[in-house]
């Protein structure tokens, strides 16, 4: 693996009661990190990745996340 990739994604409840997208990211050293996206960014990410469901985000490179957040 030469760059971080999305390991898995799941829906998580935000503190204010909104659903958020939790993304676990596998880094080059094998360790897991994560980032949480709001619904708008998550939707954009799924479109960018042509993902029909959150499960289909697995394996996508981390730059895809950066691109939708910028």
């Amino acid at each position: 693996m030469t760059e971080p990739v999305i390991e898995h994604a799941e829906i998580a409840p935000g503190h204010d009661g909104q659903a958020e997208l939790f993304l676990a990211i596998r880094y080059e050293n094998g360790a897991l990190g994560n980032v949480t996206l709001n619904a708008k960014c998550a939707d954009k990410l799924m479109r960018d990745c042509n993902a029909e469901s959150v499960a289909a985000l697995a394996g996508q490179p981390w730059q895809k996340i950066l691109n939708v957040l910028k």
């Binding site: 799941e10 829906i11 204010d16 659903a19 939790f22 994560n34 949480t36 939707d43 799924m46 029909e52």
Partner: protein
Amino acid sequence: MYDLIICDGRIIDGSGLPAFVGDVAITGGIISQVGGRVTGPAASEIDARGQVIAPGFIDPHTHFDVQLLWDGQARPSLEHGVTTVVPGNCSLTLAPLKAEHRQRLVRMFQQIEEMPDAAFNGAFEWTWESFDGYLEAITRQLSINVAPLVGHSVIRLWVMNDDAQKRAATPDEITQMQDLLRQCLTAGAVGLSTSFVDVDHNLLPVPSRFAYLEEIDALGAVLGEFGRMLQVVPEFYNTDITIARVDQLAELSIKHQIPTTFSPLFDSSAMPDNVTRVLARVDEQFARGARVWPQVQTRPIDISFNFDMASLMFAATPAWYMVMRLPHDQKIDVLKNPEARAQLIEAAEPGGDISRFAELRVRDSQNPDLIGRRLGDLAQERQTTPANTMIDLSLEEDLQVHFLAANMGHEDPTRVGPIIARERVHVGASDAGAHIQSFATYGDTGYLFSEFVREGGYLSLEQAVKKLTSDTAQIWNLPNRGLLRPGQAADVVVFDPDTIARDEEHPVNDMPEQGMRYVRAAIGIDTVIVNGEVAYTHANGYTGSTSGVIATQPVQ
């Protein structure tokens, strides 16, 4: 002559020591005797046979700042046995606040509390700018004790005006903030709150997030002069960041000899090792002499959504998510199409299994009779399935009906129970008075007893009472509170240990101008006493007593 004797109850004094049977006597707002049979006349008596007599509960994370201006009882927290609340969390308070900043702050508050405009404009008169002026305004009618935090964001706003949400403070501005904080602490503030996550109505970071460490350190130094609390809201769902925040707080705690607390810390299937790792770090920092208290809420976390937005609630089900992403009118067309609808129903309720949506509730609707109802029940009445009901309700109101999915996080009692029972976990983070149109933030205390004492057995009754009383009073340095001992303030709750719980969440229209919010009533609470005066009884409700005080001052 005693003012009040509570007779023959099971006394749990808040220390964690075993319960014992006896009387509690109160004179002049102070506990005068605990245990044994109290002899001598009393102005009134309460028969507590079969019930627990405990110190009043203390809620360390609330947002009652506004409500206290027209409701000194902080309903419904008081009826749940809460006799002291800590408002002003998350960097936002109503003082110190210049008149020209009021509406700006109101919008920030509304972002967090979801209170209607009328709650801020018309329900009370803005008579203050200073912190002591605010305290004077709320203490005219307090039934409940208040230990108010002062918000870092408003201190910054006072000193820096518009630049508070733009840049670093200059050394002179930091000195002004220190002076202002000093005034607030002298007036009775229990500490300073700051936030690393909250946003205003434009979704821009609140002022406190623009502060560099030098500023927080300088304010920590002032807290050190008073031995007062620093409360922070850390980022959610990132264990490494939370640990970094623990480390920052630990440095401030050791350097300035202050207690610190962060809230919330919660358990989630998304990060199964989150709490374990954070608490391991907390233990390490406590061993160094720091005080960094993680606040853990007792209740699970809910999610709310409607069909108008592409809610992530459907993101795991492609057929539904695809429809939810359509433009509004197209979405309605698809939902009305029998063929498309049949596919949606099959995806959500395969083989007729209706369990997926049955427990969802209507959170908000034009039809008040629907609010709070389970989709499973509504489906039965309509002789259809929950998924069909959800679609029908949405179509009936142009996709504006909101639904609530309960227990979506922090929901596994076999994990949350052991967390709450840990010595260095501070039970709190209720958020009472906030998110009022999304879910009920009241009754977490009753839930602690019903779920984690009676049902799960993770704590004894004595341990649970200690968590809510003397632990909290000591963590927050609230003098003479949290214990049933002679000389302590007579904050007392009498409850039935076999039934104490929170009731079902339901909507009420008791905000100014009939504004709606969700609440929960208490179960098993018999009597609540604040500074010696009965403030609530199950039999007669709220008494309208006005014995609440600012709880940071020693009892006279």
